[in-house]
């Protein structure tokens, strides 16, 4: 008896089911109609209809980052497909596993400049981990499964599948995931035992060690974060995290020095600079972290663990590179540490911690609480307190509020912090929060944003209301593109060119117009109440917190400067800050 055949659209749905997908974020159009018709007929798959394809992409990212699962988006051809480019690039830069399904004109019309045709596999070749144009329905099931494998394995990333309309309607047999492993893509998971042993021996000898960990720890899964925290406890080494790594070690861990890099803490950056041994775990020596390459941690012997061999020796040459999954390698490291009965150099460590304590004593994150206007730092500290004891997920947009969030929200758990690190995409925060809330309906999901970023994907508020997703948006409203204004103040003679929008919506009325709750807060004393109201309200909320527009993010290392060249607060300066390098913006 011949095997049963299914339409391409049915095959897509079957594959999604077999891949354990229960939610897609999407937006329909002409060529995806066969798929939408199948979605109509079933009930295992929840479709969240966003207001813009970019919103669907960031929502899928938030979903993926907060669950560790692959996020799925579904859009139509042409403009629907091109609207995904920012989200794909964002996911590529931050290693977020996504599968993006795009509709395409029928195969016979491809290349003819047909209505709503875009060469999306051509357009997205550089911003996807891999992409496919399925021209024959017989390949469809295999491609679907392979795409999920590629998105989730090795260094995670976005995979796009372009689906011509006729392929969705043609018939073919279905094959199960187990029968569809890619022929060529076989990322290395286990680290090289010899290299790990070498690293462990270096650790035992280190006098001024630092562990520098990043988003790779989060991607590897909660076990990796647990192992990292254990390693920190076992060795007594100080640890610093990148923007993407926050939560990998609890912020309350006494050995956590805070975030490092351009807006990292004084103690983190000084410890990086002064270290004689560095263990880099799932981070990639990004320029926002290293500053000037030739004066980066000049005395440190460096060990780098990463699942992506191309991350090793890309920016910084290291002494030992270990290719493998962070969790697997850390597990092996702990084993070897015990097997070798390694002990850290206690005396040296004590001196090192004494140095670190003097740096900590500078209290680089303290801020002036006086003044008429609210301080963003205070707004965030209060937010943190208001959420105490709740399972809370934070997302951010991009700008000063993002850096303050990284500094003051004290993320305790992995997968609870969603921010656009590599690409720095304004407009990420709100739709990402939607995705998080879909995955965690009972948790508190807060998007910290500012008045400019929020307007980039504001339309998604309607999505939140439609699906009863009670996301809370806290605007640190400074009336400026604060981060750009800060650079203009520090490096462009206070010439505030085009960084103030003269017209903003009334965010309270705007929230109401969407059917949400809006609360305006102008005084510090009103904050507590506002947060209580926000958390008690069963629906989306915008808090419009008016903060001091002149406030800047400190500490700050100007781009291209070494780690010990930090501006700690207003009035503090670094020589030669105004050179070409400095104009590269976050």
């Amino acid at each position: 008896m011949p095997k049963e055949e299914f339409s391409g659209a049915e095959i897509v749905l079957k594959a999604l089911k077999d891949q354990g997908v229960d939610t897609v974020f999407g937006y329909p159009g002409g060529v995806t109609l066969p798929l939408y018709d199948e979605i109509y007929k079933q009930n295992f798959l929840r479709h969240i209809l966003t207001r813009h394809e970019q919103g669907a992409m960031h929502a899928a990212e938030g979903y993926a980052r907060s669950t560790g699962k692959v996020g799925v988006a579904l859009v139509t051809s042409g403009p629907g497909a091109t609207n995904t480019v920012t989200g794909l690039t964002d996911a590529m830069m931050d290693s977020i596993p996504l599968v993006c399904l795009t509709g395409q004109v029928p195969t016979g019309l491809i290349g003819n400049d047909a209505f709503q045709e875009a060469d999306i596999t051509g357009i997205t070749r550089a911003c996807t981990k891999h992409n496919y144009l399925v021209k024959d329905v017989a390949d469809l099931a295999r491609v679907m499964h392979e795409a999920f494998f590629v998105a989730a394995n090795g260094r995670p990333g976005p995979v796009l599948i372009d689906l011509p309309k006729d392929v969705l309607m043609d018939q073919a047999q279905y094959i199960e995931p187990a029968k569809a492993k890619p022929r060529s893509y076989k990322p290395q998971v286990k680290g090289d035992a010899k290299a790990i042993e070498k690293a462990v021996k270096m650790m035992a000898k280190a006098k001024r060690p630092i562990i520098y960990a990043g988003g790779g720890v989060i991607n590897s899964g909660p076990k990796a974060s647990k192992l990292l925290t254990e390693l920190v406890a076992k060795t007594g080494f100080p640890v610093t995290l990148t923007l993407m790594g926050l939560g990998a070690v609890p912020a309350s861990d006494p050995r956590f020095l805070g975030m490092l890099g351009m807006h990292g803490t004084y103690e983190s950056n000084m410890a990086m600079h002064g270290s004689d041994f560095m263990l880099c775990v799932g981070a990639r020596f990004d320029d926002r972290v290293t500053g000037a390459l030739d004066s980066f941690a000049p005395q440190a012997k460096k060990v780098h663990i990463d699942i992506d061999p191309s991350s090793i020796n890309k920016n910084i040459l290291v002494d030992v590179g270990i290719v493998g999954d962070v969790g697997a390698v850390l597990g092996e490291m702990m084993k070897q540490w015990k097997a070798l009965k390694a002990v850290p150099d206690g005396k040296a460590l004590k001196n090192w911690w004494a140095d670190i304590d003097t740096w900590r004593a500078r209290k680089c994150l303290s801020y002036k609480k006086s003044g008429k206007m609210m301080r963003p730092q205070f707004v965030l500290e209060q937010l943190r307190e208001a959420c105490q004891g709740k399972d809370v997920f934070f997302t951010t947009d991009v700008g000063q509020h993002q850096m303050w969030s990284a500094q003051y929200l004290n993320i305790e758990k992995p997968n609870h912090w969603m921010t656009s690190g590599g690409l720095g995409t304004m407009g990420y925060g709100m739709p990402a929060a939607l995705g998080v809330q879909v995955a965690h309906p009972k948790s508190v999901v807060v998007c910290v944003s500012s008045e400019c970023s929020i307007q980039m994907n504001l339309q998604e508020f309607a999505t939140a209301v439609q699906y009863g997703l009670p996301v809370k948006v806290v605007l640190l409203n400074n009336g400026f593109m604060g981060m750009v204004r800060q650079w203009q103040e520090l490096f462009y003679g206070e010439r505030y060119s085009e960084t103030r929008m003269e017209v903003h919506p009334d965010f309270v009325k705007l929230a109401e117009a969407f059917g949400a709750l809006g609360i305006k807060v102008e005084k510090s004393t009103e904050l507590k109440k506002a947060y209580e109201k926000m958390l008690a309200y069963d629906g989306p909320v915008i808090i419009d917190a008016r903060i001091d527009p002149t406030e800047n993010v400190f500490p700050m290392i100007p781009a291209g400067h070494p780690h010990n060249d930090m501006i700690l607060g207003p009035g503090d300066t670094v020589e030669t800050a105004n050179d070409e390098e400095d104009v590269v913006l976050a």
Binding site: A126, R183, G321
Partner: protein
């Protein structure tokens, strides 16, 4: 792998063999990687080498510091349709060959001289008219460069080159198709 290198900043040429799935877009992916990350391509050749398994072989001659060459290999390796990447320059002795076709136009002494030099280089005349030859020459890049240089004053009007293909000496194989 992953050590520090002697003479790190010297620019060196490496010949890299890449075995890929022969699928649409694979060449664009490889070329896009080079242009997107600012790597050099001195020569690139590609052709299907195993139709049953649907495999193509790409040979790239590129240049850069030791660190860049490492990066190029790592970046190539993580492309999904890539099966195998070999640094043929590091692998040891190898054979490198290119084919060139040259059209030389002229009469009289120059024509005789062109034929004489072609003979020395073991180039074959694969087409001839009263006033032109097309020569075919096989060899490594240096040999072809030398031949083309000598033909230039003798009426050289057209050149086509395949780019380099390479294979390691000895038993090691990139493709491994005949192994069992």
């Amino acid at each position: 792998m992953f050590g520090t290198y002697a003479n790190e900043d010297d620019i060196r040429f490496h010949t890299i063999g890449v075995l890929v799935d022969n699928e649409p877009g694979v060449l664009a992916r490889v070329i896009g990687l080079f242009s997107g990350r600012g790597y050099n391509i001195k020569s690139l050749t590609v052709a299907e080498v195993n139709p049953e398994e649907n495999l193509s072989r790409i040979t790239i001659v590129t240049s850069g510091t030791a660190q860049i060459i490492e990066q190029i290999k790592a970046q190539l390796s993580r492309l999904v349709p890539v099966h195998n990447v070999r640094d043929m320059t590091l692998d040891g002795p190898r054979v490198e060959r290119e084919v060139a076709l040259l059209k030389v136009k002229g009469r009289g002494n120059k024509r005789v001289e062109a034929l004489r030099i072609a003979d020395i280089f073991r180039a074959r005349a694969v087409d001839s008219t009263n006033e032109s030859f097309v020569f075919e020459i096989v060899g490594n890049t240096e040999k072809l460069n030398a031949f083309i240089g000598l033909m230039a004053p003798l009426g050289l009007v057209d050149v086509a080159r395949t780019g380099v293909v390479a294979m390691g000496r000895g038993v090691e194989a990139l493709l491994g198709m005949m192994s069992d």
